[in-house]
C-alpha cells in the first residue's frame, strides 16, 4: 500500500529542485541530461505503478512508450500541431497498453513478464518492418511543442518543460494510488482471493491499471520524440524495457520516488562513466545483483530503511 511519507515527498522535491537548478546553472550537456532523466523517470514511474503496486512486471513498457513516440511523430508529420499530436501519441499508448493488459491480465509473475515481452517484441518487429514507419531508419523532422513566451528549442526551456511534465506525472501517479481505484489495484495484488470475494474483478482492475501506466509511458514517449525530434525502433526493443526495469530496481520498486532517484542516478552514472570507460554495464550488473541480494528495495529503500523500522 502506497503512503506518501514525508521522506518520499522530500526526496521527490529535492531531486526535482536539484535537476532544475543544475539545468539553469549548467551547460548544454547538463540541460540535455536533465531532459533525458525526466523522460526516463516518467517511464520508470509508469513501470513502478504496475510492477511495484500491481505486481505486473512488464517488459513491454519500452514498446508502449515507443507507440506514444511514433503516434506523436506520425500525427505531427501528417500536419497535426504538437499538442493535438501529443494527445494522439498518449491515446495510442493507452489503447495499446489497454489491449495488452486485457489479454494478459490473467497471467501473473514471470508468465506475465514473458507475455509482455512477446507483445513488446511484436510491436518492435512490426515497426522495424513497416516502411510507412521508416523501418529500421526511424522517422525524423519531428517538431517540439509551442510554449507560451518561450521557445522549446532552447535546451534549458525543454529541460524545465520535461521536469514540469515529470512533476505532473508524479502527482498523477500519487493521485491514482491514493484513489479508490488505486486502493483496489493494490488490494488485487496484495490478496487476489479476498479481493475477488469482495466483488472486485481482479483481471479488469489489473488491465485498467496497466492502461493507466501505459498512458504515463505514452507521455514519456511523446516527450522522447519531442526531445530527440527523431524516433526509431530502438526505443521499443525488449532490452530497452529491461533497462527500465533495471533502473526501477536500482532506484527502489514500489516507492514512486525510487523511479526518480533511479533515473537520475542511472543516467548520471552512465554519462560520467562514459567519459573514461566502455564497460560501465559491468557496474550496473553488479549493482543490480547487490540490490536483489539486499532485498530489492533499491536506493530509495536505503534512504527509508531507518524510518520504516
Amino acid at each position: 500500500m502506497f503512503r506518501l511519507t514525508t521522506i518520499r515527498a522530500a526526496t521527490a522535491a529535492l531531486v526535482l529542485i536539484a535537476l532544475a537548478a543544475w539545468s539553469v546553472h549548467g551547460d548544454y550537456l547538463a540541460r540535455e541530461i536533465t531532459a533525458e532523466i525526466a523522460i526516463l523517470a516518467i517511464l520508470v514511474l509508469a513501470l513502478d505503478l504496475v510492477a511495484g503496486f500491481g505486481g505486473m512486471v512488464s517488459l513491454a513498457h519500452g514498446a508502449i512508450m515507443g507507440v506514444g513516440a511514433y503516434g506523436y511523430a506520425l500525427a505531427n508529420l501528417a500536419g497535426l500541431p504538437p499538442w493535438p499530436a501529443a494527445l494522439v501519441g498518449i491515446v495510442a499508448s493507452t489503447a495499446t497498453g489497454g489491449v495488452i493488459g486485457a489479454i494478459s491480465a490473467r497471467l501473473t509473475g514471470v508468465f506475465f513478464l514473458m507475455v509482455t515481452l512477446a507483445f513488446g517484441q511484436m510491436i518492435w518487429a512490426l515497426t522495424f518492418r513497416a516502411d510507412a514507419l521508416g523501418g529500421d531508419n526511424g522517422l525524423g523532422g519531428i517538431a517540439r511543442p509551442a510554449l507560451p513566451f518561450v521557445d522549446s528549442n532552447d535546451p534549458l526551456v525543454f529541460a524545465l518543460y520535461a521536469l514540469l511534465m515529470l512533476l505532473a506525472c508524479l502527482l498523477l501517479c500519487v493521485a491514482v494510488l491514493r484513489s479508490p481505484f488505486g486502493h483496489r489495484f493494490q488490494a488485487v495484488h496484495d490478496n487476489p482471493a479476498r479481493a475477488a470475494a469482495l466483488g472486485f474483478a481482479p483481471e479488469r482492475i489489473r488491465a485498467q491499471g496497466f492502461a493507466i501506466s501505459s498512458m504515463l509511458a505514452g507521455v514519456a514517449g511523446v516527450l522522447a520524440a519531442q526531445h530527440m525530434q527523431f524516433v526509431s525502433p530502438e526505443l521499443m526493443v525488449w532490452t530497452a524495457s529491461g533497462e527500465v526495469l533495471v533502473v526501477l530496481i536500482l532506484g527502489g520498486i514500489g516507492s514512486v520516488t525510487g523511479a526518480m532517484v533511479g533515473a537520475a542516478g542511472y543516467l548520471l552514472l552512465k554519462h560520467w562513466a562514459a567519459g573514461w570507460t566502455d564497460h560501465w554495464h559491468l557496474a550496473v550488473g553488479l549493482l543490480l545483483i547487490a540490490v536483489v541480494l539486499a532485498g530489492g528495495r533499491g536506493l530509495s529503500g536505503l534512504l527509508e530503511r531507518r524510518r520504516d523500522a
Binding site: 512486471v57 489479454i103 494478459s104 490473467r106 497471467l107 501473473t108 509473475g109 514471470v110 508468465f111 513478464l113 514473458m114 507475455v115 515481452l117 512477446a118 507483445f119 517484441q121 511484436m122 518487429a125 512490426l126 522495424f128 518492418r129 487476489p192 482471493a193 525488449w238 532490452t239 529491461g242 526495469l245 533495471v246 530496481i249 566502455d278 564497460h279 554495464h281 559491468l282 550496473v284 550488473g285 553488479l286 549493482l287 543490480l288 545483483i289 536483489v292 541480494l293 530489492g296
Partner: protein, 275 residues
C-alpha cells in the same frame, strides 16, 4: 530447416532443463551460451575443435554450478531470479568484451566435417548433418535422464514441495545444483556448436535467449519431447515464414509465444489450491 531446429534444440534444451524442471527463469542462459562459444574458440585454438566440444561445456557447466552455489541458490521466488540473472547478462557481456574484445570471432569447422555428404540422394553439408545428429543425441540423452531415471520425478517433487521431498530422502540442494549445471553445460555445448556457423559475438547473449524462451514455453516446460516439438515449430515458423511472408515472420514467432502463454491451460494460471 532441420539444421536450424537442431541448433535451436541445442540452445533451448539447457533452458528447458533449468526453467522447465526447476522453474528457474534464467535470463543469463544466452550469456552462458555465448561463453560456450568464446571458450570453445579459445580451447580450439590450442587443442582443436573436438577438445573444445568437450571442454567448453564442462567449463560452462562448472561456471553454472559456481554461480548457482555462490548466488542463485540464495534467491527465493522467480522475480529475484529473473533480475539477478539479468544482472549476470550485463556482467558476462562486459567480461567477454574485456577478455576477447568487440570483434566477432570465428571457429573453423574441423576438416572431417568440412564439405558435404551424400545422404538419401542429396548432398548435405557435413557440419549441418553433425548438428542434426548431435541435437538428436542430446535429445535422446536428456529424455533418458529425465524420464527413465527418476530424476524428472524427483525434481518435480523437489520444486513442488521441497520440505516433503527432503523428508522422503531427496537431497534437493545437490539435485538443483546438478540440474542447473547440466542446463549450463548444455548452453555451453550449444555455443561451441553454433560458433562455426554464426561466429561468436556479444550479441549472442541476448539474441539466443528469446528463441530459447519461446521454444521452451511453446514446447511445454521441462518436457524433452515438448522441447523438440517447440524447436521444430519455431524453426518452421522462422524458415518458412521468412521465405513465404518475410514481413510477418518475426511477428509470428512472438505471437506464437503469447498464444502459448495465454492458452496453455496447465501450470500458467496463478490461482492454485484445493480443498
Amino acid at each position: 530447416m532441420l539444421q536450424h531446429a537442431a541448433l535451436l534444440l541445442l540452445i533451448s534444451s539447457g533452458l528447458s532443463v533449468s526453467f522447465g524442471l526447476m522453474g528457474f527463469v534464467n535470463l543469463a542462459h544466452g550469456a552462458l551460451y555465448m561463453l560456450g562459444a568464446y571458450i570453445g574458440i579459445a580451447v580450439a585454438a590450442k587443442a582443436g575443435f573436438w577438445a573444445a566440444l568437450l571442454i567448453a561445456p564442462l567449463v560452462v557447466g562448472a561456471l553454472g554450478a559456481a554461480l548457482y552455489l555462490g548466488l542463485l541458490c540464495r534467491l527465493r521466488g522467480p522475480m529475484p531470479q529473473v533480475l539477478a540473472s539479468f544482472g549476470l547478462v550485463f556482467i558476462t557481456v562486459e567480461l567477454v568484451r574485456i577478455l576477447w574484445g568487440d570483434v566477432a570471432l570465428t571457429l573453423e569447422r574441423p576438416a572431417i566435417l568440412a564439405g558435404s555428404r551424400h545422404v538419401l540422394g542429396v548432398d548435405y553439408p557435413a557440419y549441418r548433418l553433425f548438428i542434426i545428429l548431435l541435437g538428436l543425441a542430446v535429445a535422446v540423452g536428456l529424455w533418458r535422464t529425465v524420464h527413465r531415471s527418476s530424476l524428472g520425478a524427483m525434481l518435480r517433487a523437489a520444486v513442488e514441495n521441497p520440505a516433503m521431498a527432503r523428508a522422503i530422502g531427496i537431497r534437493t540442494g545437490s539435485l538443483f545444483l546438478a540440474t542447473f549445471a547440466l542446463g549450463a553445460a548444455l548452453a555451453g555445448l550449444g555455443g561451441v556448436v553454433a560458433a562455426p556457423i554464426l561466429s561468436a559475438n556479444t550479441g549472442m547473449a541476448i539474441s539466443a535467449l528469446i528463441p530459447a524462451l519461446i521454444v521452451t514455453v511453446i514446447g511445454g516446460m521441462g518436457s524433452v519431447s515438448g522441447t523438440i516439438l517447440g524447436a521444430l515449430i519455431v524453426a518452421a515458423i522462422e524458415v518458412f515464414g521468412a521465405a513465404l511472408w518475410p514481413d510477418a515472420s518475426a511477428v509470428l514467432i512472438y505471437a506464437a509465444l503469447a498464444a502459448a502463454l495465454i492458452w496453455r491451460p496447465q501450470g500458467l494460471l496463478a490461482v492454485k489450491g484445493h480443498g
